[in-house]
Symmetry: C2
Subunit: 343 residues, 2 copies
DNA sequence: CTGTTAGCGCATTCAA
DNA sequence: TTGAATGCGCTAACAG
């Protein structure tokens, strides 16, 4: 069996309290300190965090619930989140919701039972309900990427609407007037991006044929089929805005298989990942989210909330809970050479 | 504060043991069952897994230590691992080693202190030492992707040597004789892939100019620079084997920027990810690892070990610990159209 | 089927 | 500075 502090007591002859004090950085005689260190080394003692957590009611673990773990966006966020948490002395417990709201709700409850000290959630669900158990348990929560209306929980994200607006504006500024979009509508994110696109077109008084707005599932297939359909139109668009990573993937596949050339026949701009532009030829101009910034801000926010929670613990009517609203970071456009100038 | 079983006792008038029995699926009077369920619902009770774990000395958590969380390979494995563990009633605690052996060692010790019931490790390190604490703590461990010599710990992986051999053989069979490789040498995986390549060339009695073997860091930059250098040679290769995802990325970037066309001027075959072939034009022929199989086998193996550990607990000299050796799965080649036939 | 009791490993009082 | 005692929330005997 693993060694416990009792074993250390046997070896050193000191009391449990003294050993505990050592483990928690208290002051003791150098002599005793050395004895304990020697014993720890010999016994390969490791603190039992379950027992410690039971006493302190703090686990030093932060739960991270992601809507889907198997994509670059999520992984990159996880990387940065993990780094921040680690340097603050916390570990991350990552739960994949597999794009399933029920699993998401279970994940939340699971993490509560694990007594995590805080949670980051990149939600599947649009409804706020699934967060209630965490709020009731008084576990600080910070959302990322997708805000949840009516949850009253702060979210760190980019301004999808504004960024999409600027992306389409870039197409416009290059002279394009026949502008199409391939996007998704299941998540808030997708809706916001569509809104941004429509807004620009409206502001510029461009009439959009309904067959130019390909809003469907968030999937490679949707991107693939939509691109095929757009290129088959009698009057195909000269420029296309692609709403997310998977759609870009599918759309570029379809384009590659067609006789159309980018940017000669059709110009492209996409929302999301940078890795894509390394592979495609020509490089696609992209709206890139500041993933590291997003993660660091979310981590900072959460750690801050956790601190406050611990200090204000009992009384005090929480005067400063003034519902701060979402934290919105700017996305930047990274230019490739996928947009042709049109006269 | 969160509700405990004592609160349930207050409400129901039943004893702690009865409530505990309910929580663990024991039989009790329907009447009492209903009472408890009502109380749980009202109080929003959630089991405190720390307390439970302290008693049972099982956490229902499996630790997963990955060399780098921010890549598709890792994420995909995490996804499949997570699904398997979840359906077996376990959660995954994921630790990123950030490609750093020291962090890796800390992760192992951290998970031990969290009393995880088992571990999956995709190691950074080549040396076995970092696994010792886990072995001493008698925590079942299964490695993935990269075996660690002398650790005595089983590893689930593909046969990199054999797969690379077949990849290069495909180039050979298409008639190529001027074959180059861009690969990495920091990890076992990279070394094995290089060996497979060299072996085929040797078997076919092909002399390899040293400038054809670009072995360097596992990075996009290395792929990029190496491709540039290869194309600048007086006698450039007609076919190139690319050893991993990052290298493919860089190499394809460089190729796209050059005047060379694939497969007309240079044929390509790569080791790793499938996503790449969706984007590049033409589609690159790839050696694809059976990620789902790898994950499922590793999960099964680990869960099996955990079961055995719990049952054989005390005595029995573990007769069947016969060092089963690594579990090696076949990779498959997914053909694109990046290889030209040469006469 | 239910209740009583003890103890998991540790931190934390309070005395000494 | 150190030690003895108490309890965190729960499960696991055992007795009823």
């Amino acid at each position: 069996m693993a060694a416990t502090i009792k074993d250390i007591r046997e070896v050193t002859g000191l009391s449990l309290a003294t050993i505990s004090k050592y483990l928690n950085g208290g002051n003791l005689l150098p002599e005793n300190k050395a004895k304990i260190e020697k014993a720890i080394d010999e016994l390969h003692y490791e603190v039992n965090e379950m027992a410690r957590g039971l006493v302190t009611s703090r686990s030093k673990v932060i739960g991270v619930v992601v809507f889907d773990i198997a994509n670059v966006f999520t992984c990159t966020l996880l990387k940065y989140l993990g780094e921040r948490f680690r340097s603050a002395g916390y570990a991350a417990m990552i739960c994949d919701s597999q794009n399933n709201e029920q699993i998401e709700a279970e994940n939340i409850r699971f993490l509560i039972s694990k007594k995590v000290d805080g949670m980051i959630v990149i939600p599947v669900g649009l409804t706020a309900e699934f967060l209630n158990p965490a709020l009731r348990a008084e576990i600080p929560v910070v959302l990322m990427d997708r805000s949840v209306d009516g949850s009253g929980v702060q979210c760190v994200k980019v301004d999808n609407r504004e960024s999409s607006y600027r992306a389409v504006e870039m197409l416009y500024d290059y002279g394009h007037r026949k502008i199409a979009m391939i996007g998704s509508d299941i998540e808030v994110t997708g809706k916001e991006r569509e809104q941004g696109c429509r807004q620009l077109l409206k502001d510029k008084k461009i009439e959009v044929p309904p067959e130019y707005m390909k809003i469907g599932r968030h999937s490679i297939e949707h991107g693939y089929k939509s691109m095929q359909e757009l290129l088959k139109l009698e009057e195909p668009p000269t420029a296309i805005f692609m709403g997310n990573f998977e759609i870009i993937l599918g759309a570029v596949m379809a384009l590659n298989e067609s006789s159309f050339q980018c940017p000669h026949d059709v110009s492209l701009i996409g929302f999301d990942d940078l890795i894509i532009s390394n592979l495609s030829n020509p490089r696609i101009t992209l709206v890139v989210q500041p993933l590291q910034d997003l993660a660091e801000n979310a981590a900072k926010l959460l750690l801050g909330k956790m601190d406050k929670d611990r200090n204000s613990s009992d009384e005090e009517p929480e005067e400063d809970t003034q519902m701060p609203g979402d934290l919105i970071l700017p996305a930047r456009i990274v230019e490739g050479n996928s947009i042709a100038r049109v006269e």
